[in-house]
Symmetry: C2
Subunit: 236 residues, 2 copies
DNA sequence: CCAACGGTGTGTTTTATAACATAATAAGTA
DNA sequence: TACTTATTATGTTATAAAACACACCGTTGG
């Protein structure tokens, strides 16, 4: 089956999504976004941007899933956050007026919309509502980052992995069964999200499965006992 | 010697500081801040706000030094950032419209100005320049937090401590000698900034001193070899 | 067809760092 | 002044998690 996709399909999807920061913008303002954007497709595993590059504009994810990560000591990758459709990426560097300090890779086939920098800044200057939404969004991200700093440094392996599974669940939600996390990461990505080695991620996932907290079927992870998973996460 | 302090001395100091987000505001806008603020003094060690409380407004540090920290597993404290005069605190919770997710304690005698919430939001709505400055400031903080997440999780003790000393230097600068860090933290605070135990902070500081990278005299820390300290920090 | 390869899974060893213990010193405080 | 109490210092032990090693898939491709 071939799906016909109209010219402004992707940007409209970004704007209309209930979670979008562009939702509820005036028609004229939405028009500015439509007129000043471009889009691009990425296959699973492809790089969207790399640490050190300069942001050409604000990127909004139209479809797919993206990981944002930094390379640390010895090239070891730490995933900072996961992006879902209508989420934006590269905004920090753009707003701070600096180069990207993290990289973005599609972990599923993805489509992005790039809103041209000057048009966006003009819009922000003219719309206090948009400004406040961006301020709120940045505040949320900062809180998330602060939380992660403490969790990743203080919690033990089990707590860190449990928290990461909950983060994935909160970001991407469940499949129709209400149990399967709607995200299929490699064990390595799960490890890089949880600040541990791949072997330890695999090992600890197995332990969780043996304890009937989760069920594993390849990359499919089912949360069987959400309360217990929460308890493991909070107790560290 | 008694120093006479006029009614608006503190808020004016916050506004006029070159690093302030309120610098370059129009006279009328500055007037709003002056008319809608209160101030308070805190002694070294006193709590300014606690995790869970609701922010009454935006706090700007008029004088002194403040640590922002979160309590993690088993009440273990992780310092997220250090605030210097004209820096603001509690902004994240205020802008996100939620309770504080971290606590603030004065590590020196400090004076804060509290800018009343509604007046501030009105100002933000009316001034795109202020909005953009706040967006930029939040972006900077988010970048800082992301960096710290990776450093604190991946670097070894020596690297973490070296980085923390550099963070203190970058925040508070040097004394007139151009070497002594203008901040006198307890070993415990240094440890909580660097994600390590107090004993390890003490031990590693001693090692740095033995290696002539720093010189210690009580709480006074002199950076003798900035290049080597940088190298220790970046190599992890 | 088999080889090569990326991803998974599991056991063993090593090590960085926390946890613990105990002084020694400094700083308040009665 | 002496008496607590906090802070700094250092040595020892225990342990969580990395590092390493190897085996087992399922794919891809020559």
């Amino acid at each position: 089956m071939k799906t016909t996709v109209y010219k402004n399909h992707y940007i409209q999807a970004c704007i209309d999504n209930p979670g979008s920061i562009f939702k509820n913008l005036k028609i004229g303002e939405q028009e500015v976004l439509v007129k000043n954007h471009s889009y691009a497709h990425y296959h699973k595993g492809e790089i969207i941007f790399k640490e050190g590059e300069k942001p050409p504009g604000l990127i909004s994810l139209a479809s797919g899933k993206v990981k944002i990560f930094k390379e640390g000591v010895g090239g070891r990758e730490q995933i900072l956050r996961m992006v879902k459709p209508a989420g934006i990426l590269g905004f920090r560097a753009l707003f701070a007026g600096v180069a990207y300090s993290a990289s973005a890779i599609a972990i599923e086939d993805s489509t992005i919309c790039i809103i041209e920098k000057d048009a966006l800044f003009k819009l922000v200057r003219e719309s206090p509502e948009l400004s406040l939404k961006i301020i709120k969004m940045l505040s949320y991200e900062l809180g998330f980052s602060n939380n992660r700093t403490v969790s990743l440094t203080q919690k033990h392996i089990r707590g860190r992995l449990a928290e990461s599974l909950l983060v994935l669940k909160d970001t991407y939600g469940f499949e129709k069964d209400g149990k399967t996390i709607k995200a299929y990461l490699s064990r390595e990505d799960i490890a890089n999200l949880s600040n541990m080695t791949t072997s330890n991620a695999i090992r600890t996932l197995s332990t969780f499965a043996a304890e009937k907290v989760i069920a594993i079927d390849g990359r499919k992870i089912k949360i069987l006992d959400p309360l217990k998973l929460n308890r493991i996460s909070t107790l560290g």
